[in-house]
């Protein structure tokens, strides 16, 4: 019998229990962190075919979001501008810059620029840009400080829990309609935001829509 189980095996049960507890905690923590959109999505920063800098265009030159993303107030989809729109300026400015070669070519040939998609909701989620930006939700809330980004990256998790945060308490995020595309705007203080947000919720009859029908069809 002793040959089968040496004395050290008596310590095994405790070790296994402790090991399972620690390991389980570790795996849970790992899954919690690495397998949720906070990790899998946030920080995604693909290399784009044209090194377009939001920082330069928005932060330095002050172009409004809606100049390029013109459909955002009308459609569920916030469009990527057509190359011809870029050429409105770039046939004057940086006319021959090699970085813009693809843009010029696209505007000429009609062949679109293959931008890499950064933000994407699953097929069963029907997010609508128009209803958000028209009702006091800023681009900032979902896209972060895109005006400071040299190359766009995924700034927020855009998970269902993330959406629900705001849907449950819109007052915390609503801002004046003229500040929607002002990505540098911040409430003076959380209290002021609360007071203002609650006023908007009341005045605009903003509903906190938590039921499935708000996003899934």
């Amino acid at each position: 019998m002793s040959a089968i189980f040496p004395k050290w095996t008596n310590r095994l049960p405790l070790m296994i229990v402790v090991g399972v507890l620690l390991g389980g905690a570790g795996v849970t923590a790992g899954v919690w962190y690495y397998f949720t959109p906070k990790y899998t999505r946030v920080g995604y920063q693909p290399i784009q075919p044209v090194p377009f800098s939001h920082a330069t265009h928005v932060d330095q030159m002050g172009i409004d979001c809606r100049y390029c993303h013109s459909a955002v107030e009308k459609s569920w989809y916030s469009n990527i501008p057509a190359a011809s729109l870029c050429m409105n300026c770039h046939n004057q400015v940086l006319k021959d810059d090699p970085r813009l070669a693809l843009v010029r070519e696209s505007a000429q040939s009609g062949k679109p620029i293959p931008w890499v998609q950064v933000h994407k909701t699953p097929e069963f989620v029907y997010f609508n840009h128009a209803v958000h930006v028209n009702r006091g939700v800023s681009c900032y809330e979902c896209h972060g400080e895109i005006n400071k980004m040299e190359e766009v990256h995924h700034a927020k998790p855009l998970s269902m829990a993330f959406c629900l945060d705001c849907h449950r308490d819109p007052a915390a995020k609503l801002r004046p309609p003229d500040k929607i595309t002002d990505l540098d705007w911040r409430p003076e203080s959380p209290e002021k935001q609360r007071a203002m947000g609650e006023k908007f919720v009341h005045d605009w009859k903003v509903q906190s829509l938590e039921s499935c029908s708000a996003c899934h069809r």
């Binding site: 469009n79 190359a83 029907y126 039921s211 029908s213 069809r217």
Partner: protein
């Protein structure tokens, strides 16, 4: 900048990945072939209305070229590209659906439509309610026509001698033909066309006839409605077409005329008929005048018969005698010879004379407000008798008006056959149609056709006629769908209607107009130019450009109508025809009457490959995917037929043989309640061999019995058993009786006058303790913030369905299917009771099997406030929202199916298999091949599925086309998911979002009543379905729900449905011999020991509760 790029993200691939926008479409290089061909030389043409519709191609082409080389970036989240326009088309906002006015052409008219385009692809059609003769309702065929556009089996190539040719070569051939005709005045050139109301085609026809005087023109329709025009023209003594105004009629008599189902323009007839059946709360009117009264004389149980107040069951051949007997009673002062001739026709055998005399009396009592209509199946004499009666009743000019006839004459198929046999035909141009399948059998068309030296055929499918058009000298050109075409038509009221393309021809097909223009040798052959030119002629002098733009924008151009006034009938013409009539003896067991009829679903066979229509249950028999021999109970018993009916989806019926004039066809026999004895009803349009993956092999081909001399009613049919095994016929409703349950509640007008709330009186008596639930509904319980969920929104959605105006036409079912991406499942699966329709029409027979009463009831998710389905779902996949919708989160559903078990209305549907991804040819079987063992397109299915879960196991060609038909606003459900009517949540949300966008920083978030409606309500020609906000007391739906007839089905379960019904009221004539005091269903209900109860308080009605909560 050096942020780590996370590893491949494993997004849940549970939800199906049908594409929602063009950016996703562009990912499919399979579009390459047709896109490359059309790659635009210059995108600047986009502002031009002609090429505007090309933009879908431009976009796709652009996407394609840029979309190569995806996912080469290693271990990362798969790269997905966004491919924007390089130049944005004018007025186009990506993601916002656009509507274009167009029209669905029918044989003699058109259904004006608004077609919805999602990022360049049409996905849904709706009636154009702006049109002067439209309420926005449509028929089944128009709703389903969108699927034909994306039919993977449609003709996609030009062929010469059956092998692929280029389009250029085909066009050259047309030019060559034209030049040849120019040289010989068109000698030997023959056209075979279908009926059309297109002014442009008429213009081109006339042009060709002038240019090539020797060219000959023939028209053939297997089911032809020209008899109405023909009869009216004879009666009026001048070319006219009749236009019935049933809404003006208080008494309607149908002589085998299925105006609700099978006649053309039935959507309009339904609208007008239903208008006369509406009760808007004025019960004070004299009972019988409350609503109209419908008398039907017919052989087969039709939709019209199903809605009749009095139905006389006679063989079709005997309708003549009934009509004559009625004429004898009614047409007193007229033409003596006419009276004589009518009397000579003889009395109808076995018909209660009182039925005829009382009916006649009733019609006479409503002179000017009564109308008699005769069906397309009936011979000219019956139509003329009907015209004479109408004349005698003073209906002409009131309930029926004559309009000038604008059609152009043409020869018949028989004449063409003679010409072919005589070797007079050099070149035969067949535009549309499918004569090789549906021409009279004795012509043997496939052989006959080859007597022409060469045949040029423009066809939508590579069908039976295509198969006959494969000699080296034969050409086959693909026909463009109407949503790909420019064209014009006249709706039946004479209004000019435009047909505009929403998408450039997917397979580069041609339109009829273009072919004719090329044959006519015109310089401008673009259909756009032709239509514009025609319009120029029709609108001369009215400010052309503006009129044209309005014509395109509105979709119609109202022309001044001048009805033809008929002062006196052309008795001579009528009498001539009547004198030639030879009454047929009544059929017997050994000489059955065979009645060929237009099918409710596939028409004459033209929609045979349309899965939505194949799977649409026949409104009366509820059979899908095939046709049967319809027999009356007596005939059925006389032949000793039995049916193994355990009420599974499959009914096992005898497989029998019908012989007519030495030709025979085998098929399943079916017991049809209400049918005339010794008749066999046979639907046309089935049994096709070259239809496509959907239609091939469905049903038997009745054309194989049909001859030119007896196209609709043939005597001498012989039926015999074959001894084959009982054959399974799949139906969607296997139990026919209502079992005395108050599901559909109906009463006669007299009962209604006495007890307007009779429907509530049929509620189950309340238990002594009252009917209050134990708990308050959480909708009424303040949440954490102290707000009742019910008060959170200004809306509370509800629906009211008026059973008095629902005629059971089923166009709502197809509309729902189109709107909500409802898949088809195939006959095998329907046989296993697994059809997927979110909205079904329950049809019950009440009374005797011999001549039953029929009721229909649209049944869909009732959106119960206390929904039994929700509380049993273990995963919160189906819950309630604040607006009272019972919502279904597909992506959360694991598919326990418990919700369906607990749904008392059984309106939930389960994806037993991956219906959306199954190849069409597997609809018939073998059904359950596992992807573990199979390959498709040469790839292991599992690997293919892994690579692209959305595509599943569909072959590429199906996948690429069928996904285009999907509504991008509705998730396409995968297998294992429960689904059900959502009250068109995508429309609700769309309207709410639009309103909120409009409201912006204001509180104006309530969607005004009438802004939008559900797909079923929208398509309903009878306006029986009304949807809206029940919180708003002024909304239409609230007013309807306030009517006394309002009731909930199974109210005693306290599910508090948001969908309620308005009980049906029948209007029988107390003088008639078949009068009963109460409808049969009511009597059956009473027989179960029930009686009308009085409720002291009516608050059991759910909508009241909803309203109470709202205020």
């Amino acid at each position: 900048m050096s942020k780590t790029i996370p590893p491949t993200c494993t997004e849940p691939q549970t939800g199906p990945k049908y594409w929602r926008g063009l950016d996703e479409l562009a990912e499919t290089p399979e579009f390459k072939s047709w896109v490359e061909r059309e790659f635009p030389a210059g995108a600047s043409e986009l502002s031009d209305p002609v090429t505007r519709r090309n933009f879908v191609k431009i976009m796709s082409a652009s996407f394609l070229l840029a979309g190569v080389g995806l996912g080469a970036s290693g271990c990362r989240r798969p790269e997905e590209k966004i491919l924007p326009f390089s130049r944005l088309p004018e007025g186009y906002v990506h993601g916002v659906a656009q509507f274009f006015a167009t029209a669905f052409p029918t044989r003699h008219g058109a259904i004006p439509l608004l077609a919805k385009s999602n990022d360049g692809r049409p996905t849904k059609v709706e009636g154009n309610s702006g049109h002067p003769d439209s309420n926005g309702g449509t028929d089944r065929f128009a709703q389903a026509s969108i699927l034909n556009l994306y039919d993977p089996d449609r003709a996609i190539r030009y062929t010469k001698g059956g092998t692929v040719a280029t389009k250029a070569a085909a066009l050259d051939q047309l030019t060559a033909l034209s030049q040849q005709a120019e040289a010989n005045q068109g000698a030997g050139l023959c056209f075979l066309v279908e009926r059309s109301s297109s002014p442009s085609r008429a213009r081109l026809q006339k042009l060709i006839q002038t240019k090539f005087p020797q060219a000959r023109w023939f028209v053939y329709e297997p089911v032809d409605f020209d008899i109405h025009r023909n009869a009216a023209s004879i009666a009026a003594g001048q070319p006219v077409t009749p236009y019935f105004k049933l809404d003006k009629a208080k008494r309607i008599l149908s002589l085998d005329c299925d105006f609700i189902g099978a006649e053309e323009d039935n959507h309009r007839f339904i609208r007008d008929f239903a208008k006369g059946r509406k009760i808007e709360g004025h019960a004070s009117k004299k009972d019988e005048e409350l609503i109209n009264r419908l008398y039907v004389v017919e052989s087969l149980m039709s939709l019209t018969g199903a809605n009749a107040d009095h139905r006389l069951r006679v063989p079709s051949s005997q309708v003549l005698q009934v009509a004559a007997a009625l004429a004898a009673e009614i047409v007193k002062q007229g033409n003596a010879e006419f009276a004589n001739l009518a009397a000579q026709v003889g009395k109808p055998a076995g018909v209660d004379a009182k039925w005829i005399s009382e009916c006649a009396k009733d019609l006479i009592a409503h002179a000017g407000k009564a109308v008699v209509v005769a069906g397309y199946r009936q011979p000219l004499a019956v139509h003329l008798l009907a015209d004479a009666i109408n004349y005698a009743l003073g209906s002409i000019g009131h309930t029926v008006v004559f309009q000038p006839d604008t059609s152009v004459g043409a020869g018949t198929l028989a004449e063409l056959a003679t010409a072919l046999n005589a070797g007079q035909v050099e070149s035969l141009v067949i535009l549309g149609g499918n004569p090789a399948y549906n021409a009279p059998v004795e012509l043997d068309w496939a052989k006959l056709q080859s007597k022409a030296k060469s045949v040029v055929r423009l066809g939508y499918y590579e069908d039976e006629t295509f198969a006959a058009t494969t000699r080296a000298t034969d050409w086959h050109l693909p026909l463009a769908h109407y949503l790909e075409s420019w064209g014009d038509v006249r709706s039946s009221d004479g209004t000019l209607v435009s047909i505009q393309p929403l998408i450039a021809p997917l397979f580069d097909g041609l339109t009829e107009l273009e072919v004719l223009a090329r044959l006519a040798g015109l310089v401008a052959t673009s259909p756009y130019e032709i239509v514009r030119e025609t319009f120029r002629g029709l609108s001369a002098g009215w400010g052309f450009e503006e009129s044209w733009n309005r014509f395109l924008h509105d979709g119609f151009y109202a022309v001044k109508k001048t009805d033809v006034v008929v002062a006196a009938l052309n008795w001579a013409g009528i009498n001539k025809e009547l004198g030639a009539v030879k009454p047929v003896p009544a059929p017997g067991k050994d000489s059955l009457e065979v009645i060929f009829h237009r099918d409710y679903r596939v028409d004459d066979g033209r929609y045979n490959n349309n899965g939505w229509l194949q799977e649409l249950p026949d409104p009366i028999t509820k059979i899908v995917w095939e046709n049967v021999f319809l027999l009356s109970q007596k005939t059925w018993e006389a032949f000793g037929f039995t049916q193994k009916d355990n009420e599974s989806g499959n009914a096992y019926v005898p497989w029998v043989k019908l012989t007519l004039n030495g030709r025979s066809v085998e098929g399943p026999a079916w017991l049809a309640p209400g049918q005339a004895d010794n008749t066999v009803g046979v639907a046309l349009g089935y049994g096709r061999t070259k239809s496509g993956r959907v239609g091939n092999g469905a049903g038997f081909n009745a054309y194989a019995l049909r001859t030119a001399d007896a196209p609709y009613i043939a005597a001498g049919g012989k039926l015999s058993a074959t001894g084959a095994k009982p054959y399974p016929v799949a139906t969607t409703q296997s139990h026919w009786a209502m079992e005395g349950r108050p599901v559909v509640r109906e009463a006669n007008v007299a009962q209604y006058a006495e007890r307007p709330d009779f429907a509530k009186g049929m509620n189950m008596p309340e238990p002594p303790g009252g009917d209050q639930p134990l708990y308050p509904n959480p909708l009424d319980v303040p949440d954490r913030n102290g707000v009742k969920p019910r008060d959170k929104s200004p809306h509370a959605w509800g629906m009211s369905i008026d059973l008095n105006s629902c005629v059971g036409c089923s166009s709502c079912m197809v509309a729902c299917q189109a709107e909500n991406n409802v898949p088809i499942v195939g006959k095998d699966q329907v046989g296993r009771s697994r059809e997927m329709h979110w909205l079904r029409i329950d049809r019950y027979f009440t009374g005797s099997v011999e001549n039953p009463q029929v009721v229909t009831q649209p049944m869909l998710c009732q959106h119960c406030e206390s929904a039994p389905c929700e509380s049993v779902c273990p995963v919160n996949a189906t819950v309630h929202d604040e607006e009272g919708l019972n919502v279904m989160a597909y992506n959360r559903c694991v598919g326990t199916r418990y919700c369906s078990n607990n749904c008392p209305y059984k309106v939930r549907r389960f994806n037993y298999l991956d219906y959306n991804k199954r190849p069409l040819d597997k609809l018939k079987g073998p059904f359950f091949s596992t992807p573990l063992l199979n390959t498709v397109d040469g790839e292991w299915e599992l690997a293919r599925w892994w690579r692209d879960p959305a595509r599943g196991i569909r072959p590429n060609d199906e996948w690429e086309l069928l996904k285009l038909a999907k509504n991008p606003d509705v998730t396409v459900r995968m297998r294992g998911i429960m689904e059900k009517c959502t009250f068109c949540i995508q429309r609700i949300e769309g309207a709410k979002i639009a309103q909120k966008v409009k409201a912006g920083a204001s509180a104006d978030v309530e969607v005004p009543d009438g802004t939008f409606t559900t797909a079923c309500a929208q398509a309903c020609p009878a306006e029986a379905i009304v949807f809206g906000n029940v919180k708003d007391p002024h909304s239409r739906v609230s007013k309807l729900k306030a009517q006394e007839r309002d009731y909930s089905v199974l109210e005693f379960l306290l599910t508090k449905p948001r969908t309620t019904y308005l009980a049906r009221v029948r209007n029988p004539n107390p003088q008639m011999p078949d009068y009963t005091k109460a409808p049969a269903s009511f009597e059956e209900w009473e027989k179960k020991g029930n009686h009308l109860v009085h409720h002291g308080h009516h608050d059991a009605a759910p909508h009241h509760a909803a309203e109470k909560g709202a205020h």
